[in-house]
Symmetry: C2
Subunit: 298 residues, 2 copies
């Protein structure tokens, strides 16, 4: 399979589904609706919904339903980007080559747009259960897992630690960095894989294997990002090279060096692929995505 074509086709499906989800007349709430759409349709790679679809495919489930759940995660991912850019957080005025949400819409509306996307994502997930596209007990399980992994013990908790490390001038140890990055970034990627598997009603052994896969690929995603922050072509990377350093963030490269970080990446990839040993060719897209995530840092 050609992974770049696969990614392009996946991203196109995601754009179309997100457009369906957000269609309709938003009056009188057009301003906050526009603010949400501004960031949601800013041209991300859509890697989370693509992972959800690939995971669902690996388990023989209905990929179109996984797409919808993946779009909910993309809405959640977008909310974290809007809030992370706020002056009280990373204070980034640009995102994907355009003014950040709060620069365009003001801080108040950006804050609301973020929470609006988070809440809307739950509505999307709940409606899949309510309208029978997944059994209600599966929808409830997905919503509970999502909440735990994106909340104060997950994405938000990781961001809380990141702010502590960044603003208080106490750089995290390697173990603290791993825990913080896992919560902040890896958990959401792992969650995408879980969504796909739960939509497919995967059995517990398959879920366990995909969890090992997801944890390792989730971590690898951040390690690769840290490597790219040092070595990438700025055009392809989509953000300025060296921005971690400029923001005083500690990275895996700081702890492991460039070669050490790349070796760690290779270990994570090997462990992830080994976890898929009992899956057949339906998991090939998932395998290819794992390689893509790691190999862009080589």
């Amino acid at each position: 399979m050609d992974i770049r074509t696969y990614l392009q086709e996946g991203a196109a499906r995601v754009e179309a589904r997100l457009a369906e989800i957000t269609a309709g007349d938003a009056a009188p709430f057009s301003l906050v609706h526009n603010a949400m759409a501004y960031s949601l349709f800013a041209g991300g790679k859509r890697i989370r919904p693509i992972l959800a679809m690939a995971s669902c495919e690996a388990c023989g489930g209905d990929v179109d339903v996984a797409l919808t759940f993946g779009c909910a995660l993309e809405m959640i991912h977008t909310y974290t980007l809007i809030h992370d850019d706020l002056p009280a957080m990373d204070n980034d005025e640009m995102r994907r080559g355009r003014p950040s949400n709060h620069v365009k819409y003001g801080e108040a509306q950006a804050l609301l747009a973020g929470c609006g996307l988070l809440t809307w994502a739950y509505e999307v997930m709940a409606n899949e259960g309510r309208e029978g596209r997944v059994p209600a007990d599966i929808a409830v399980r997905i919503i509970a897992e999502t909440s735990r992994r994106i909340g104060w013990q997950g994405t938000m908790g990781g961001q809380s630690l990141d702010m502590i490390y960044t603003t208080q001038g106490t750089p995290p140890s390697l173990e603290e960095l791993r825990l913080m990055e896992y919560a902040k970034t890896a958990e959401l990627l792992n969650l995408a894989i879980l969504h796909g598997a739960l939509v497919a009603n995967a059995d517990e052994p398959a879920l366990a294997a995909l969890t090992v896969f997801g944890e390792n690929i989730g971590l690898a995603f951040q390690v690769a990002d840290d490597v790219l922050d040092v070595v990438a072509d700025p055009e392809q990377f989509g953000k300025p090279i060296g921005s971690d350093k400029a923001q005083g963030k500690t990275t895996y490269v700081d702890h492991l060096g460039l070669d050490g970080a790349r070796n760690y990446l290779k270990e994570l990839l090997d462990t992830a692929l080994l976890a898929l040993a009992d899956f057949d060719a339906k998991a090939d897209a998932l395998r290819a995505l794992a390689r893509f995530i790691v190999e862009r840092a080589y």
Copy 2:
């Protein structure tokens, strides 16, 4: 029944359930956990979970389960208070006689604490379905209804309009005010009543009647607050008198005058109580709560 005793006993049950929900070791995410607890246990009246319990009782359901769903709404209500106090919103440095969350914990952690409570509320609701205290299809319905009513078409949308009216110096017409306040405040109170009824598996006629009740009581709550902002004893009101005026907010009293606002309150109460005509004595607590909400403004 003595409404003050009923409110005190209800609030004590809410405190206890919220303490159960939030118990446990929060390390390494203690800072954001402390920030959430700081605002969650700041001594509110707990009117939303009390309404959920009373509504459930009116429909003959399990009040203890309604209490948990009501606590989820109290977590959501607390999140809106934390975010509304932020400098980018109303910029309130005090809340319930103590420094606001962002004054105590900084803006970044306050922002995360708010979103953390929102997300946690969903986990609480989903777990009620996952662990069988309500059927999964009821949990999914409650989660979908909650999302729509607290999101960009509800609480957040109302706050978005409030920020537009406040910062752009264009005072809302009475109709705009009603729509904005309904979305921002009334919808969440109405939702508490819906939670209780759905937990009790109320039939559609009962749901329809309780929706009329909830809409009118939700609106009345805000009108009463506007009246109290003019006439209340500051000790009992819990915030400075005249704060709406000081913040440049348009109120029902501006549009209707004091007597007009009180007449409107009486109309809303009459309509709400009439909607409960077919309910028996099990709805007496709900009736007493409606009277309490309105009569504190007399």
